[in-house]
Subunit: 160 residues, 3 copies
């Protein structure tokens, strides 16, 4: 069990199986000491969850849980290749959501990922973020999450 898994387990959480790419790309791509994690969706062990629009099909609390699940998938992707000790810290988080025109609780939903990262990674989990209300996401997902992070040192390129 890796140190990330230990931290996650200690918090009573479970990392989902990291999903395999649905196209010709890497889920987790390291170049030098910079790592980018491909957009993750609220998928739990291959099951698509939290599809629909915030404000219609999902309320704010469901959106928070959807973002948290995206965050767990990001951690699962990172955990596949790196130890907690390798990580210097998260850089930036892009949060994408689909909503009705009048729904306006995106920052609360975004905290689903932000809270998780700080809980699991501590200071290393702090990040800047952008919250973007999009027109569409694949498979009608309500939310999506892309993350960049920095490693303590340059490592050889890993195809993931």
């Amino acid at each position: 069990m890796t140190s990330i898994e230990k931290r996650v387990k200690k918090l009573g959480l479970v990392l989902p199986d990291p999903s395999t790419p649905g196209g010709n790309y890497s889920s987790c791509n390291s170049r030098g000491n910079l790592v980018s994690v491909a957009i993750q969706f609220p998928i739990k062990n291959e099951e698509y969850l939290y599809q629909g629009k915030l404000g219609a099909d999902l309320d704010t609390e469901a959106g928070y849980q959807a973002m948290r699940l995206c965050g767990l998938n990001v951690l699962a992707q990172i955990n596949k290749y790196f130890e907690l000790e390798h990580i210097e810290g998260l850089n930036h988080v892009d949060i994408f959501y689909r909503s009705t025109d009048d729904w306006d609780d995106a920052p609360k939903v975004a905290n689903g990922a932000s809270d998780l990262f700080v809980e699991v990674l501590g200071e290393k989990g702090h990040h800047s973020r952008a919250i973007i209300g999009v027109h569409a996401l694949p498979r009608q997902f309500s939310v999506g999450l892309a993350v960049t992070l920095t490693l303590r040192r340059r490592i050889p390129w890993i195809f993931a």
Copy 2:
């Protein structure tokens, strides 16, 4: 007065108060020598401005001013932690806007931020950019702006 403030003042501009994060994230996050600034909106000292849609509630000139204000907020965030001398240069700028279906002046509006960065930071202010017409932004803001930049040298992590 910092050197960024001096450059801003010399141009007859005023940096707004840097806004505090509306969630569990950092407005300005440094990892190694890379800094990411969280999405900034057209807020002036806590007052929400330039809400609505481009092409309906705001014309192109108002959009340009809205983007310029976002840019001033980015500079205010950077200025809180770094001196001009620390900055190697801006990397990339993500510009988000909300518009009616037929409005198509986004590059002009985007220049509101691009012009400001070059005016204030000179060569260091040059950047690549993406312009993205989104469905929604928090608080019905018309525009938003996220920026990455590089510092001259690696600095210890600052929580901001």
Copy 3:
């Protein structure tokens, strides 16, 4: 002829003329060993192509070709300043698309860029990606593409 052009030619492809910026920004911006390429659209030697919405004006195959053309424009921008040998590898790719509400083939369209990068650059072409369905893009383009990449070593700043 640069080594990128040679690889492209060997595959029977032609790099379009790299477009000049439609605003006060750089099409290709290097800071340290990190390079960001501004959003590229399906433009071929100044001609605007693939305008409209996926699912209405363009089918999935046309979308794939549109993304491939965006990818060729990214390579054209990179090729203007760097040799293949300078490139350590792509980091991340942001794919933006416009579609009708019920069209859901974005990952296939995204592969238009992903496949190209792997064909031309090999391992260096691998990348993480985000696919984002947006409300609007300049000039009614159906797709857009922004890319970050890493160079083997720090190089002096190039204004491009």
